[in-house]
Homo-oligomer: 592 residues x 2
Amino acid sequence: MPTYTVPEKEFQFLLHEVMNVSEQSIDGYAEMDADFTGAVIGEAGKIASEMLTPLNAVGDKQGCTLENGFVRTPEGFKEAFDQVREGGWTGLDMPEQYGGQGMPYVMGIAINEIFSSANQAFAMYQGLTHGAASAILVHGTDEQKDRWLPKMVSCEWTGTMNLTEPHCGTDLGLMRTKAEPQKDGSYAITGQKIFISSGEHDMAENIVHLVLAKIPGGPEGIKGVSLFIVPKFLVNEDGSLGNRNGVTCGSIEEKMGIHGNSTCVMNYDGATGWLLGEEHKGMRAMFTMMNEARIGVGVQGLAQAEVAYQNALAYAKERLQGRAVTGAENPDGPADPLIVHPDIRRNLMEQKSFAEGARAFALWGAHLVDRSHRAGDAYAEGLVSLLTPVIKGFLTDMGYDMTVQAQQVYGGHGYIEEHGMSQFTRDARIAMIYEGANGIQALDLVGRKLAQDGGKHVMAFFDLVKGFIKENEDNEALKAGYLEPLKAASKDLQAAGMYFMQHGVKTPNAALAGSYDFMHLFGHVCLGLMWARMAKAADAALKSGNTDPDFYAAKMATGRFYMARMLPATKMHLARIESGAEPVMALEPAQF
Amino acid sequence: MPTYTVPEKEFQFLLHEVMNVSEQSIDGYAEMDADFTGAVIGEAGKIASEMLTPLNAVGDKQGCTLENGFVRTPEGFKEAFDQVREGGWTGLDMPEQYGGQGMPYVMGIAINEIFSSANQAFAMYQGLTHGAASAILVHGTDEQKDRWLPKMVSCEWTGTMNLTEPHCGTDLGLMRTKAEPQKDGSYAITGQKIFISSGEHDMAENIVHLVLAKIPGGPEGIKGVSLFIVPKFLVNEDGSLGNRNGVTCGSIEEKMGIHGNSTCVMNYDGATGWLLGEEHKGMRAMFTMMNEARIGVGVQGLAQAEVAYQNALAYAKERLQGRAVTGAENPDGPADPLIVHPDIRRNLMEQKSFAEGARAFALWGAHLVDRSHRAGDAYAEGLVSLLTPVIKGFLTDMGYDMTVQAQQVYGGHGYIEEHGMSQFTRDARIAMIYEGANGIQALDLVGRKLAQDGGKHVMAFFDLVKGFIKENEDNEALKAGYLEPLKAASKDLQAAGMYFMQHGVKTPNAALAGSYDFMHLFGHVCLGLMWARMAKAADAALKSGNTDPDFYAAKMATGRFYMARMLPATKMHLARIESGAEPVMALEPAQF
């Protein structure tokens, strides 16, 4: 059975030694001293290890079942959800006004990682609710907020996002679900939505669906899409539950993974809904929750990589197989542990250096969201808008690859379901697809975000990298191992951006054909920057004679691995980008 | 439901325009004219598409079940196996003396690809039998050959390979299974073997297990391992089946994929076995079948990539979503097909250029085996021994990645089981693990094969590349698009080899820490060479005014994609290799 231990020290190092959160003048940050964050993370870790981790395999094995329109979640899920609710974890970073704890998003993201590592399918019930509640928070009327938010913040009612229809996923302009205006100001929603995570289940009293639909007579395509609140049970004036609404679960999907989460086909048959935000501005409202959700999904990639790594590492230390080429390291045993072998070590170091770098990146992204939302920082808002597709696409692609590598450490034992390594890869796979498939993230990055506001945000990113290198150029501990590779990688990223500028306007395909590589190139530079920042903090701690030199020395070495072994990917991505659109587009569809 | 169409034209192009098989003076090659190979491949394709493909999802869904020691295979498997047997497909490249058809291995590998694309789990029953029969063919006495081979060639009896035990997979020296000599010259085999593919099932009258075990009193470790023939049913003098032997299936494993194949725990309880080959030389005998099996497993990686690609391509042409950035290409429809989008095109081109290059590589490997076995060509034997770990490791890693990419084309529809794209990735995953996990392939390549016979074989490979470039340097059609990138990639490979030579002797870890990257670097150079050869043939066909210019033009363009977009990976691998062992080995195990 796989285990999970919260990487508390890693979180604390990032929050307090790299990001110095409690010193930032952002609403809610002053309270986040090391004792406080340590207590919250430690407590979440306990829930994750003791309650959610054992349920992960149960969820995978049992899945969800639909009978007479009623979805049964795996044994133990409901009880665990009750405990998560009771502990106040569901409203951690939600406003106190609605029953939340008002903590910064950076803490929300940390807890999100922890719960996702332990049980991604379970964490999704809460995650979707959080996204839906955020959309109501930003776009709802005061009455809507008062009506829906308290129960959603507490997860007494859960939430969903309804976008996809059988014939349209990415291209929502093709949507057919209709919303007919009713005399009482409500709408009658009719249509079918698919791939609705947590669409129907037995863990909450009510489910609040946010549904994209078209009001007849509105503009064509994506410009005529509006967003609606459609509850499973209507809610009476006094807040009690009323009649069942005209929305039912038609079937649940058999999937590669996340079996513990019910992925539903939802049928809306004149269901009563209320407009959220403005008419025909549904996409804008949906994107509020999409952007935040995308960082959350990026974290899922990291989370599965982390837990898979922890188990691969334990196996590599314990499983005796072969002898170190440099001489037996366990001479009294029948063989040496796997970890003595350089290729196993390479594999583990890739996982470790990715997970630690990715965590820094995700927390930085969340911190930028806090600066934007809690301190009105337009610079941070622009930067995180640029980085969001990178966090989502790069972290989920790499996170998936790392779960595959972790599985490989187990050999044949990784392929059978018994050890749980297969589940990590099967669960991680979805994160590359949902909330906008990663190709769409790359398109968003290159087609929209790069040029946004005259390219201001990407210039800001480059200034950040340059500034860091300049500030630290005299630090011998960083120079060769960190600053030089970061500089080289950042140059590759700039060259790629330059290539797009020079060719993309005349030949849009020249930019788009390189978009996926650009997203990965960008991701590596971001992790390079994260590692340089972490190394700076670790070096400072070592020089100050901090109490745990082993931790900081390991940090320095892990970062050097990333810079030496992972960053060289930027050269490859640049070469691929600079080969342009011709090789990609040379064939006519009929020639395939 | 996924479909499969045999890439007959691709096979024919490789066999007759690139490899010119029927002109080679190798036993059995003269018969292989285009009509003949076309007929065989076409017929195999029919069986694959019509019979094996529909059973693929059935096998995945139903899996195998164990009841009272009896394993039931999925519905339809037995009947399909009967038909494959009756068609003579099981002994295609086996000697006529034992009922085979005596065709070259290159044809065997082609058919292997076809059946594996259609249904990997099913093809394994035959594949394992082939491997076991090959070992008996090479190491058996005449009596053993006469007794076992005719029924194994026809697959009336199937075969297995029993290596792994619960506590040892890679490190077989730790093996505990015992073989006690009996008075009649047989041995009593006792022990437990795990992960035995096709270990027990209902598709054949008898199962011939090849089992590695230790004869008490023999040398310690791997040097004391012998190989035994242990049938499920003993065989009487007259060839009829006798008593049940002391071997039973203890349980079957729940796996990530290949559910249609029974992966068994096999318990040997004083089972009667006969020594195959010499005492304590079991590993040598096993490697006979391992090397050949490794090429076959490499082909499985390619095979899953091919079928996944075919389905992704069909979906990309059919699914309407979004508009081409350069203007609507399906203006009368609600949207353009996915294939207009550059990033979808990039994804498909990666799959296509990989599958076609990999097929050329696999057939070339098989051809080298033919030259070695059928023409006693020591040069070919050395070369294929070097290339075997590359074929196995590179083709299965890349093949898996390509199935993941194919799944991505489907978006959410790729994650649900309904469309079969998830099965391709789940099935493909095993090929990176079995027959020696890919890290072991890399170790074999760098630790053994590179330096074998004084490095003669790798020098021969470089000469081959150099020779090709020199011979064709005046061909303007190849120069920029093919020869230059091939030269650059080959230089990277040589530089990596040089790095190992300079550092590996003093610091073995410096070579081993780079072994995995070297395997991939080598694989890319091989596919680059394959593409250069294919381009040469395609260019010649175009210049000669061949009848299907579209096919050859597409071939040229697909190859240019590989050279421009895939080969740049060599630079990354070289940089990683040249960073040496330090970043990889810097941490002590306790520091992880």
